[in-house]
Symmetry: C2
Subunit: 279 residues, 2 copies
Amino acid sequence: MDKKKDARQDQKSEIREYHTPSSGFFFKIKKNLHSKKSNYQNIELIENETFGKILLLDGLVQTTDRDEFCYHEMMAHPACVVHPSPVDILIIGGGDGGILREALKYAIRNVHLVEIDAEVIAVSKQYFPWMKEILKDNRVTLVINDGVNFVKNTSLKFDVVFIDSSEPVGPSAVLHEKLFYELLKKRLQPEGIIVAQVASPFFHSEFIEQKMTFFRELFRFSSLYLGPVPTYPGGCWCYAFLSDLVHPFDIKRDPPPGLRYYNPDIHKAAFALPNDLIF
Amino acid sequence: MDKKKDARQDQKSEIREYHTPSSGFFFKIKKNLHSKKSNYQNIELIENETFGKILLLDGLVQTTDRDEFCYHEMMAHPACVVHPSPVDILIIGGGDGGILREALKYAIRNVHLVEIDAEVIAVSKQYFPWMKEILKDNRVTLVINDGVNFVKNTSLKFDVVFIDSSEPVGPSAVLHEKLFYELLKKRLQPEGIIVAQVASPFFHSEFIEQKMTFFRELFRFSSLYLGPVPTYPGGCWCYAFLSDLVHPFDIKRDPPPGLRYYNPDIHKAAFALPNDLIF
C-alpha cells in the first residue's frame, strides 16, 4: 500500500516527455492545472517553476509560458514579412493561439483559426492570457473542424497558411501527408505562402527528408528553416516555407516591434542549414 | 529495507541533469562505464541507447557520441577559417579531445591541450575513439596543468586559443573571469583569435551580458555566436569570438571535408542574434 502511494505521488510530482525511449525532459509540477482526455487527445496543463504554464497534448509539450515566443515568432513572421500583401490568413491547428497572436500584429483583413479540438481552445482561453484578447478581435474567425475537412470544403483562398500541427501521430497525422498539401495548394492565392512546423532536425532528419521530397514536387520555393525551441526535442525546430512565387529572402516590411526572438538578421540566418540537413 | 533498495536501483537506472531546480534532461543508463571522483570533480561516463557514450563532469553533460559534433565543430571551425594563418593553437580544457580533433584538420604547426584533470584525459582516451589517434599526432603537446597557471607562465604565443571550460562553478570558474582574459591576451599573436564557450542563451542571458561587457573592453571584435547542442541546457549554446584584428566574417579558407554541422552559410548565420541577446 505504501509503495503504491509513493508511486502515485512520484507520478504527480513531475511530468516527463520522452524524446526517445531512453531520453527526454522532466518538469517538476508546481501545480496540476488541467488533465483531461478530450475526444481527440489527452490534454494536460501544469505549472512549472521555470517554464510557467506548460501545455501537453498526448504527453508532448506544445507551449510553455517561458519559451513559446521562440516557436510562435518563427512560425508567424518569416511569411508575414515576405508576402506582398498578407490579408487573408489561415491557421490550421494552433489552438493555443500563439501564431494567431503574432499574425494579428500585421494589417491583415481576416484570419481563420481551424482547430479540431474545442477543448484545446477552452483550456488555452482559460490559462493563456493572450487568448482572451485575440479571440475578441473581429478579424478572427474560429472554426472547430478537422483541418482536412475545412480545406476540402471551403471556397475561400488565403495569402498565408500556417500548419501548426502536433506530431505526426494522433489527430494531426493527416496534416503531414502529401495529399493534404495538394488540397491546400488549391486554396492558396497565386502569391500564397504555406509555413509548416516539420520536426526536430536532430531526431527526425529522415522524416524531414521525406517531407522535402513532396514539398519540392508541389512548390517552386521549398525551403527549410530552423530556430531554437528549448522545450522541444533536441532544442531546435525545423519549419518549411513553401511558395510558388515568393522567395523566402525577399523581405518587404519590418516585423512588428517588441519581438523577443525574430528580427531580419535571424530571418536570413534561419535558412542556413547544417550539412546533415542539406538533402 | 526494500524501499532503500528500490531507491538505489532507481538512481542507477537513469541519470539526470538539472538545468534549473525544476527541469532538466533524463538519460536511461544502458551501462555504467565509469564513475569516480578525481581531485577536481566527479567524472561519470554512461552508455545510453540514444546518445551512445555520455561524459558528465559534476553531473553536467559535456560530450555525447551522438551530438558532440554540434559543439566541437562550432567551437573549432569559425576561428580556423578566418585566421590568416593558424599555426600555433592553444586549447584550455577540452580534455575530451573534440576540439583538438577538429583543429588538427587544418595545416597547423602545433597545438597545446592544457587540461587540469588527467583523469578526464584518461577516461576520454579509454572511451572516445578519436582520442587515441589524435594524441599520437606529433603536432600535439598535452599539458596537465591549470589553465591560468599555464597562461601565466608560458612564453609561447598563439594564433588561436579555445576556452573549452566547463560551467563557471568548480575548477573552471576562474576561466570565466576578466583577469584570465587579460592574461590570455598577452599570449595572443596580434592577429590572434580567442573562441570561448559562454553559456546557454536561454537560461543564462544575464551571465552572457556580463561577459560581453568585459569582452568589449578587451577586444575590438567581440561577437557572440550561436549553435544548437541538443544535450546542453536549452538545446542551443552561445560562443564568443574575440580578436583585435580579425573580423569574424572574413573567411579565408574552406572548412575541411566531412563536417556534419558547420559550413560557410552556417558560419555567418551563427552570428545573427535573437532580440533577447542583443545587448
